[in-house]
Symmetry: C2
Subunit: 204 residues, 2 copies
DNA sequence: CCGCCGTTTGGACGAATGTCAAGATTTTCT
DNA sequence: AGAAAATCTTGACATTCGTCCAAACGGCGG
């Protein structure tokens, strides 16, 4: 194949992949809005400028579309969390910085986090989502563990729990805060910040 | 109204309520099996010895049926947790007893707990479930808080966290253990026990 | 300008859904 | 036993769902 032909082909698949991403993004918006149980392909299509038939041109079926959406969500998630926490001098400062980060994440996109918990639960019923969800969970756990280790380093000691438990505890606080935030509590964000700040010293 | 008539009427409503409970119980089995998103009225009816039309004789609509099921689930939940923990002499013993209790609860009915998390997430999308779910959440939080206080008493000190945070942390461990248990991990139960035992001392 | 090929539309399909009502059946009361 | 009330079945309804397909559109090379 000539390089020109290769380039041509690449731009074609790029365009195809770009539209796939565009449609997956629209699917995420719809899912975050309505939840998995109430989101149909036609509803997703209404969140785009295209008709519902197009979805089957870019995705094999509904599961494929949602799987791709979840993978895309994961990419955005990880990328956001990689752009980590600002430098902090003391352990307390670091804990407060993490607490602010999590609270801000919750405040900025509560429905997206609601969708995450929805999809994670759905993965317990639909095996098709299980692998992607597990991958996201692992990267979230790694993110939390990095923070716990950094906090312990700043405090001059070591964590007293395993990464899985640390993630479970943080996630418990986050999910409860999300529940309260979405049901109208206006202290949920502050409570989350305080809860996270107080959690760090419990783990070393 | 004569007392005979009153009795007659009572037996009638009792029978009505009894069948309602029977159908709600079948609905719970179906929901635990398939999850909210995949459970239809006809599927629920297949879990009973009756036809699908009967569901509309005992329940106004689908939301009413599921709401009643959730309320019934709550009643069973609370009753189970009220029959609490055996007496323990030391704080460590008590923590171990609680850890065993939670791990046993998870092991005995994992799909029911999966359903609980499904319904709790659905309540963030469907306002109709919100109140019942919040009630269950409150009673679970109260159950956890009783245990944390008992542990602190046995240790001769006081909890250093609020009830909401204690519940969130326990729930985080439990949910993560459920995820792993249902996806095939055979260390999930032991990990949960250890995680709970280690969590108690972190909270005082 | 034509024809090709990737893209997009819009409608059609069968299946499944929640809901309802009319009739059959069973229970209860007199 | 017979009437009345309850319980239950059955089939139908309008929608909505995922999926598929024939046709139309649009840009680009020949």
């Amino acid at each position: 194949m000539t390089s020109a032909a290769a380039e041509k082909h690449r731009t074609r698949v790029d365009k195809f992949a770009a539209r796939q991403r565009e449609l997956a993004a629209a699917a995420l918006v719809a899912l975050a809005d309505l939840g998995y149980a109430r989101t149909s392909l036609r509803t997703i299509a209404e969140h785009t400028e295209f008709s519902h038939g197009l979805l089957h041109y870019y995705f094999a079926d509904k599961v494929d579309l949602i799987t791709c959406s979840v993978q895309q969500y994961k990419a955005a998630c990880v990328q956001r969390y990689e752009s980590g926490i600002g430098t902090a001098a003391t352990a307390q400062e670091f804990a407060a910085s993490c607490a602010d980060g999590l609270a801000t994440a919750l405040a900025e996109a509560p429905t997206m986090h609601r969708l995450w918990y929805d999809l994670r639960t759905q993965s317990l019923f639909e095996k098709a989502f299980r692998d992607d969800v597990a991958e996201i969970d692992d990267s979230l756990q790694a993110m939390i563990w990095r923070n716990v280790r950094t906090y312990a380093d700043l405090a001059g000691t070591r964590p007293t729990c395993c990464p899985a438990d640390a993630y479970a505890l943080f996630d418990g606080l986050f999910q409860q805060a999300l529940l309260r935030h979405l049901t109208g509590s206006n202290t949920a964000l502050d409570d989350l910040r305080r809860g996270i700040r107080e959690l760090f010293p419990r783990l070393i």
